[in-house]
Each structure stands twice: as structure tokens, then as C-alpha cells.
Amino acid sequence: MTFPHRHLLGIEQLRPEEITTILDLAEEYVALNRGDKKHSDVLSGLTQINMFFENSTRTQASFELAGKRLGADVMNMAMQASSVKKGETLIDTALTLNAMHPDLLVVRHPHSGAVDLLAQKVNCAVLNAGDGRHEHPTQALLDALTIRRAKGRLHRLSIAICGDIAHSRVARSNIMLLGKMENRIRLIGPPTLMPSGIEEFGVEVFDNMDEGLKDVDVVMMLRLQKERMDGGFIPSEREYYHRYGLDAEKLSHAKPDAIVMHPGPMNRGVEIDSDIADDINRSVIQEQVEMGVAVRMAAMDLLARNLKGTV
């Protein structure tokens, strides 16, 4: 098993076999997490700092739990309330933290590329927990694990990603990961929410849900940010729901056993119908949350092995 990376900054840097390595290890942690003793000591003695420059409850909790279950000393830093407000630059913050000798740094930042920049300045392993519209690698990995478990494979599937592609780091990381694993990717959304040059990504683009969802194995919905709902990018919430919200009728165009995913938090009645979200036969949204902890445990485990030189 090789994972020759110091950081986990994005899916872009990973090779297909490395993605499989992470997912295989994550399977072991799924088993651990479902057992009675949800504890391991592979990160024992290591310090994990979660630096979130942008609000997040779910991702931060998932990383915190993952670290604690592996025995790390975990510290959360609420960066909005810190010296960043007092004008300290990202680099200075990084250097300050670096002096405290953390081993794992989990970073979320509102600007694309900020986590890469920070990783250049510290000695520890850095995990990207989402940077701007760029990447969110652990989300793509947990989605991949969820798909692999539900479908029995992670290749030659037809997968639709629907909604606000333009502003979504989840979409970018998923397009990259699912593409590397040789799946067929369809992007569905209004043209105002499609990034420019998208045709060159090796994907099919649709602005109509019925056509786009035809015979797909996986339907991945994206969250529509509140600030984009009124007039600027789409005419209104209700028109968006009518044209792009996932309901039973639209889902009927997908394969009968197609699964429905959502990175959360969901806007019920905007991008997804409640009945679909809660349908235990179709929705794997709760499983995605579970896989999130396991995938993050696997990623931190692998990076820590590199720190200790034991891979």
C-alpha cells in the first residue's frame, strides 16, 4: 500500500490506485465505527488542529470525530473569531500554528488555493477541508465510498451531478475523482450555474433534468446557496424547484435502482423533494455522513504513516 503524499490538498494530485487505497482503508474504519469499541490509537500522541476560516458544523464535526477515534489530540480553532480579524495574514497564522508543532492540520478557507498556499509554509500534513470553489477532496472520497458500497463498483457507472456546479468545490472534486475512476459524468443545471469551459472537462452537459437523468446509476444533488436564489443566477426558488428540484417524476428517468446523494445540508423543497431525501430505498444521504468519518480516518491515518515514515 503506497500513498506518497505529504498532504491531501485535492483529488487532482491523486492517482486512481491511491484513491482505491484510501477507500479500502476506509472500509476497515467503517467496520470499526460500527463496532462496540470505536477506538484505535494510530494517531496516538499526534496533534490535529482544525482551522476553519469558513463556517462548517458537519465537516468540522466529522474531522473532529475521526481524529478522536484514532486517538489524536484534537483542537478546533474558530478562525473567524481569531487574529485573522485583526489583520494577521494567512501566512503569519500558519507560521504561528506551525510553531506549536501540530502533526495534522485540517483547513477550510473561503478562497480557492488558500489551503495550497498554507501547506507550503508548514511542516505538518495538511488536509483540505474545502477551499473556495476549488476542491473538497474528502467529500469526493466519501461520495466515492458510498457509491462503491451501494453499487459494488466505482467504474463504468453513469453519474449525474445536478445543480450549482459553478460555485461548488464538491462538484469539482467529484468530477475529477469519478473521471479518474472511468465513469460517465453528466452535469445538469441552468447555464447560469455552469462554470465556463465545462465542455472541456470530459463531461456531458444538460440543462434539462429529464434528459440528463436518463438511465443514470447515481444522482448527486448539490446544495443551492441561499444568496444565489433570488434573481441573480436563477429567477426564483420555486422556478428552480420546478425545473431542477429532484422529485419522483424526474427521478423516474434514472435507472430503477439509481441512488440519490446530497452532500448536505439540504434545502428541502428547493433542490430536493423531502419524500426522495427520506426514501430509504433510494437515498444514501445518511450513509454519506457515516462514510465521511471513515474516509477522514483513513486519510489521516495514511498521512500520519507518512509522517512517521511507516508506509
Binding site: 487532482e12 495574514t89 478562497h111 480557492s112 488555493g113 470553489r133 472541456e200 472537462f201
Partner: protein, 429 residues
């Protein structure tokens, strides 16, 4: 007997942009002026100091429109002394400076301060530009007449686009009555707001806020209409996209008093150079696609684009060591201008006389300056250089106070051997 102010350059490859010629010959200067040009490489003159150029190239010094010297306001980034030394080392004998300082150069008093500082500290000629509107806010025009009297050679709000078309049209009309040249930044301001890169696959992959290349054409279209309406003398500071070229060509064919420039970075780099968020490649307007770069280079070669500028913009480390979106725009370029331009020559896109037209003769003519020529009566502003000398760019060797060059670590060709301003050697051994 050798006269002190009389120098003869022999055995030189003379680049005459005006005549579009490159010849082996000699050049005699006296009291800061060119007094004779010979097509004999081995001319002798007992009363002159002889400089044997050993077959290297002698050309008019570069006239660089759009240099940012950070005085007043940000002298820690660049001063007239450091910018002047950088210019001399880069073969730039005339810096035409930008008014986007802090405070803006928008009144005669500030302009006089700048002229005084330039005279005290810079070893090359400095001609300042002044803002077209107060504080470059696009609301009220500046005292164009007073500023012109005080020495402003052109009027520009730099990269700040005047959104209010009525204000811009009045400023253009007023400038026309004084024969003043207005330099504008053709860009649709709303579309380009907040953009860090040009939209396309790369921008989307990196998740960076982007502007469509079309915004430049829209801006140019508007400006051309205003020039047609007002009859003003107009120069577009940077044309960087292929789509803007047909509009420019039509405007020129229609006889409007329009010229256009581009930057050396847009001629030698493209959007992909940003790679993993390298902020030294963040410039304004952002780097374009390779097809655009090639189209612009061809337009310079054909003369459709008249002027190449360095758009020298010093930024300190603190302004650049930030996430890409937050990082400041701009790159220093006075010292890399010539070797970067040599890439176009070595790629066979342009010949040296045509290149020098865009870097020296045209900018000087557009501003009514006597330099940029290699003929009798022109000032002895000269650069002696070797277009082939290879080196690896090391930014720590730059004379600029700020060292934000995108060429750091790159292989380049073309070295300045010596620079002369009004006959005085300001750079070289």
C-alpha cells in the same frame, strides 16, 4: 584631441525603427545628440571616444508607457531611484509614469512633486502622466490644462474604468480641445469586477473568479464610439484578446485618432502559467489563452497594435503572499522587458526593427517626444545589447525594490550591455 562629449560607436548593428532597417555601421553622438550615422562599421574619428560595439546591437532606448513608480505613497515598493536604476539596467531610457499612486497624481502640486523627485533620483528620462478624473473615481475631471502645463504627457485613470459614460465623454471632449492624449483601459467594468483570471477551463478547474475575454471588446467598443463622438486622441493601454482586434482595425481604418498598446506579459505568458495559484502571474487584465497571445503578437508584428509596454507594477511580498483572489495584481518588468521581448524575435514572430517600433519609436511619437529614433538630431538615448546572450532569471538580482517578476527561474535570452541617456552612460561597465 578627444572632445569630452563626443563618442563614436563603431562596428554596431544599428536598429533604426523609423526606417525599419538593421544595418552594420557606426554612430556618432555629441553633447547628448546623435550627430552622424555611418553605414561604415569601421569609421574613425580622432576627436571622439571610440566604443567598439563588437557587432552587438545598438538601438534607440526603450520608451515605456505605463510604469508605476510608487511615489508618492508606497516608496517601500519602489522609488524613483530604484525604478530609474531598474530602467537603466533594462535599456529603458524613458519612463512614462502612471498616476495610480497614493494619493493619485491628479493635481499640479502632486505632479510637480513627482517631477522634482524624478529629476533628483532617476538616471533616465521621466515623463509623468496624470489622472483623467479626480482620485481616479470617474466623477469629476482633473485640471487637464494646468496638468498639461505642468508637464503631464497623457491623461489616464489607469486600470480604473470610467463607468459613467457621460463623465468620460465630457473628459474626452475637454481633452480634445487641449490636444491632450487620453489613455484608457478598455474593459467592461461590471463583467470584470472581482475577476482574478480569464474565464475558461483553467479558471473553472482552479475555482477562481473569472472574467470573459469578451469584456475587453465591449469596453473597447464603447470607447471607440466615444472617440468617434468626441474626436479625442485616444490610446487603449492594453489590448490582450483576439476578439478586440477587428474593432480596433475598423476604428483605425475609419480614421479615428486611436492607437493601442499591449503588455509584454500578455505577449509572452498565458493563462495556464498561473498553474498552482502563482500570484506573481496575477496581472490586470488577467493572462489570456494561448490563441489570444499569438493573435496579439501577430497584431504587434503587423502594426495593428502600436505599442508594447512593460506595465511595470511593483508589489511587495506581503501583497503577493496571499490567496490568489486576495493577492495584489501586477508584475515588475523594467529589467525583464527586453529579454522577454526577445522571445518574440527568437520565435520568428517579429524582427528587431519592428519590435523597436513598438517599444521605442511609436510610444515616443504618440507622446510627441523626440526620442525613439536613430537619426541625426535625435537625442542620444541608446541601448547596446546582445539579443542572444542566455541567462537564468534570478529575481534577487533585480534592481527594483519589489521583485515580483513572473520570469523568476526562467531561461531567457537578451542582455543589455550598456544604456545611454542623453549621451551619458547610465548602465554598463
Amino acid at each position: 584631441m578627444t572632445l569630452p562629449n563626443r563618442t563614436l560607436f563603431t562596428n554596431a548593428r544599428l536598429i533604426d525603427p523609423e526606417a525599419a532597417a538593421e544595418t552594420l555601421g557606426s554612430l556618432l553622438i555629441e553633447n547628448g545628440m546623435i550627430v552622424a550615422v555611418y553605414d561604415d562599421a569601421a569609421t574613425t574619428d580622432n576627436s571622439a571616444t571610440i566604443i567598439d560595439c563588437a557587432g552587438k546591437y545598438l538601438a534607440p532606448g526603450i520608451v515605456d508607457i505605463g510604469v508605476k513608480v510608487c511615489e508618492p505613497g508606497e516608496r517601500h515598493k519602489e522609488s524613483f531611484r530604484t525604478a530609474g536604476q531598474a530602467a537603466a539596467a533594462g535599456g529603458v531610457t524613458t519612463m512614462v509614469t502612471r498616476p495610480d499612486t497614493d494619493p493619485t497624481i491628479d493635481n499640479p502640486e502632486t505632479l510637480e512633486f513627482v517631477i522634482r523627485r524624478a529629476r533628483e533620483a532617476a538616471p533616465v528620462h521621466v515623463h509623468p502622466m496624470a489622472a483623467l478624473t479626480k482620485a481616479r473615481e470617474g466623477r469629476e475631471m482633473t485640471e487637464i490644462g494646468f496638468l498639461q502645463d505642468a508637464g503631464a504627457v497623457a491623461f489616464t485613470d489607469c486600470d480604473s474604468v470610467i463607468v459613467d459614460t457621460k463623465v468620460f465623454s465630457r473628459a474626452l471632449s475637454y481633452a480634445r480641445s487641449l490636444g491632450a492624449l487620453v489613455i484608457a483601459h478598455p474593459q467592461e467594468p461590471i463583467l470584470s469586477k472581482g475577476a482574478a483570471v480569464t474565464s475558461g477551463k483553467f479558471a473553472s478547474l482552479r475555482g477562481l473568479p473569472a472574467v470573459t475575454a469578451m469584456a475587453e471588446r465591449m469596453g473597447l467598443d464603447r470607447d471607440i464610439a466615444l472617440v468617434e463622438m468626441t474626436g479625442a486622441r485616444y490610446h487603449a493601454d492594453q489590448i490582450t484578446t483576439a476578439r478586440a482586434l477587428p474593432a480596433l482595425e475598423r476604428a483605425k481604418a475609419n480614421g479615428l485618432d486611436i492607437t493601442a498598446g499591449t503588455s509584454i506579459h500578455h505577449l509572452t505568458l498565458n493563462a495556464l502559467d498561473v498553474a498552482d495559484y502563482r500570484t506573481f502571474f496575477k496581472i490586470k487584465p488577467p493572462l489570456r489563452e494561448e490563441e489570444d497571445r499569438l493573435a496579439i503578437a501577430q497584431a504587434v508584428a503587423s502594426g495593428l497594435i502600436d505599442i508594447i509596454s512593460s506595465m511595470h507594477t511593483p508589489q511587495d511580498e506581503e501583497s503577493k503572499r496571499l490567496p490568489f483572489e486576495e493577492a495584489a495584481s501586477g508584475a515588475v518588468a523594467l529589467e525583464t522587458f527586453l529579454p522577454a521581448a526577445m522571445r518574440l524575435v527568437h520565435a520568428g514572430i517579429i524582427d528587431l526593427p519592428t519590435l523597436w517600433r513598438a517599444m521605442s519609436f511609436n510610444p515616443a511619437s504618440r507622446l510627441g517626444l523626440p526620442s525613439g529614433r536613430l537619426s541625426v538630431g535625435a537625442p542620444a538615448d541608446l541601448v547596446l545589447f546582445d539579443p542572444n546572450a542566455p541567462f537564468v532569471m534570478d529575481r534577487t538580482t533585480l534592481k527594483s525594490k519589489s521583485r515580483n517578476t513572473p520570469f523568476d527561474g526562467q531561461r531567457m535570452q537578451g542582455k543589455v550591455i550598456a544604456t545611454y541617456v542623453s549621451g551619458n552612460k547610465v548602465y554598463g561597465t
